[in-house]
Symmetry: C2
Subunit: 215 residues, 2 copies
């Protein structure tokens, strides 16, 4: 009868709106995401107001709500956008690296550099994912998992072809998670690391560690 006790909010996908031009909608949403990312990094999700987002984009709150269903929805769009950026960058790294020799250390290096460039937004995801409603939270976590999956694939391939020592699937999976997270570690301990290590030294030493395990 009553389908669920907790249907409350729409996602952006089905906002009831008067706006008709779909290209405009896309452009506006990108603007909103870009503005929101900056503000969320600066002040956090909860201390950022919808009015601030709107005024940073350059229009009114009324208009903001033509393109977006709720404040939480903006956070979801932001997280999603970040993950798809990271995923593309990582996928890029990998297609470029399989050509070269010393594939693994090349991938690690490039991935850590991505983490370095994206450290603000990676931090954002760690800190604000929990502010999402549970269903969307899950989607965000799955995105994270998909990125780790890219590492799993590469490691499996290298291990199968003998370029790495043979490892069982579970060790490969775990190693993939470790690489992912050691990249993140640079971002959330940046306040410490960046005062004691250059990113290059960090990469070099961590790569040596990983190669001792997998090489």
């Amino acid at each position: 009868m009553n389908p669920s006790p907790e249907i409350k909010k729409n996602r952006t996908d089905d906002i009831p709106t008067q706006v008709k031009n779909p290209e405009l909608v896309d452009r506006r949403r990108r603007q909103i995401i870009d503005a929101a990312v900056k503000l969320f990094i600066d002040k956090g999700f909860h201390k950022t107001t919808t009015r601030q987002i709107a005024s940073r984009v350059g229009f009114s709150i009324g208009s903001l709500y033509e393109y977006v269903a709720s404040k939480e929805d903006i956070l979801y769009l932001v997280c999603d956008s970040i993950h798809s950026q990271v995923e593309h960058l990582v996928a890029d790294v990998m297609t470029r690296a399989v050509a070269g020799r010393n594939v693994l250390s090349e991938i690690i290096r490039e991935y850590f550099l991505v983490c370095d460039r994206m450290s603000d937004v990676i931090l954002l995801i760690y800190q604000e994912t929990r502010s999402l409603p549970p269903q969307w939270q899950k989607r965000v976590l799955e995105n994270e998992l998909r990125i780790t999956g890219l590492f799993v694939e590469v490691l499996a391939k290298l291990s199968a072809s003998g370029e790495l020592s043979r490892l069982d699937d579970r060790d490969i999976e775990l190693a993939a998670h470790n690489i992912s997270v050691l990249g993140h570690m640079w971002t959330f301990r940046r306040w410490f690391f960046s005062r004691h290590y250059t990113i290059d030294e960090y990469i070099e030493r961590q790569t040596d560690f990983v190669l001792k395990i997998l090489g």
Copy 2:
């Protein structure tokens, strides 16, 4: 002349209060911390209200503010309390372990078990530290660093005594951070790991990895 442009809030240490009995104050603060931890884990800092904290403790908001200067202050007390718990547990682990053989894997095992037991609050720190005013934020991060420092000490000792391969200081420091964070990784990817690994399998495989690096 004016000491700082940004003095805004008192810390609990100097709350202007009529309360005189210091033991009562301590007891009440512990109650507040305990109640707050549970609520923050459940709903997050921002969605928890001061009234909820007070009523969970079992007294009124008015009383809450007799023992605590602000809501942010409660968060600081919570973070501090968590870190000192973890630090004590880790220090314990270490004094117990130096007796046994295979010291390092023993320490890792016990530390990871601590992370497993404390995963809720470890997560809390990752997510809510940024909600603190910058000065207190810094203190919390330093606490984190102190715990990592415990690992540095142990590794340095083992390396010097030849029980581990010789490593330079910076490799030791980095390895200490890695161990810390791989413990945390279990907590913030728990939603995934706990469905695919038991904590024991996780410990075993990660320990093997670490020993390949340091053994």
